[in-house]
């Protein structure tokens, strides 16, 4: 079975999907580290914010974004198989998932944006 994922492109896409876990785990650890810096006070937190702007961090996030997007797409694509039997057509379930994700993302961006523009410290 060595190298089985090279036998068919289908398996390669599967492996990419599975590899997204590395980025999701690393991202959670970055946030956890930021939370620790936040608890330590303003100076340490500003240092953490500063570190997010380093080339290494930017490169990581630039790579993580498409991979996690791919994870999201595959997550909704298999939803017709993972949800209990419904009468809904598969395409409707996938479209519903994608729409929910788009709505959550838009809401998040608007909240942060709005928060960023008008909130008074």
């Amino acid at each position: 079975m060595a190298g089985w994922w090279k036998r068919h492109p289908y398996y390669l896409w599967y492996m990419l999907r599975e590899a997204s876990c590395v980025f999701i785990t690393a991202y959670a650890l970055i946030l956890l580290w930021g939370l620790r810096r936040l608890a330590q006070g303003e100076g340490p937190f500003e240092d953490w914010l500063e570190s997010l702007g380093t080339p290494g961090s930017l490169a990581f996030h630039a790579l993580a974004l498409p991979v996690v997007l791919y994870h999201a797409w595959t997550w909704f694509k298999v939803m017709p198989k993972t949800l209990p039997d419904t009468r809904l057509p598969a395409a409707a379930i996938v479209a519903g998932g994608v729409a929910a994700s788009a709505a959550c993302s838009a809401a998040l961006l608007v909240a942060v944006w709005w928060f960023g523009l008008w909130s008074v410290p």
Binding site: A2, M15, T25, L31, L49, W75, P121
Partner: protein
């Protein structure tokens, strides 16, 4: 036939997978790219503002949910990945992956309660 204890970890994996599919890309975009690069106002993630968020009940819940569920999702998939690469994952290593996610969860809870 021995009953597997996977349901617990699969439920956490599923919850993390769903959450990361819904908000993961946008979170990565905001905190990892848009704010550091100045596409979004740097003020968005200023100390006082993030602190205020982390001090609110909903903020604490959101922070713990994202960190904990992302970790459980990622760690569960990671040991499956090892198996896919033909590396035999024994009980010990499996426990280590889930233990790591659990430890991260505890750390996140302790920290949100501390801020």
């Amino acid at each position: 036939m021995k009953r597997s204890n996977k349901p617990i970890f699969w439920a956490l994996f599923g919850a993390g997978g769903m959450l990361s599919a819904l908000v993961g890309p946008m979170l990565i975009f905001i905190t990892g790219l848009a704010v550091p690069l100045g596409w979004l106002d740097r003020e968005t993630m200023r100390y006082e503002r993030v602190l205020a968020f982390a001090q609110s009940g909903a903020g604490k819940l959101a922070i713990v949910a994202v960190i904990s569920l992302f970790l459980f999702h990622g760690c569960h998939r990671m040991y499956h990945c090892l198996h896919d690469f033909g590396i035999h994952v024994g009980r010990g290593l499996k426990a280590a992956f889930h233990g790591f996610a659990a430890a991260g969860t505890v750390a996140a809870i302790v920290l949100v309660l501390a801020v």
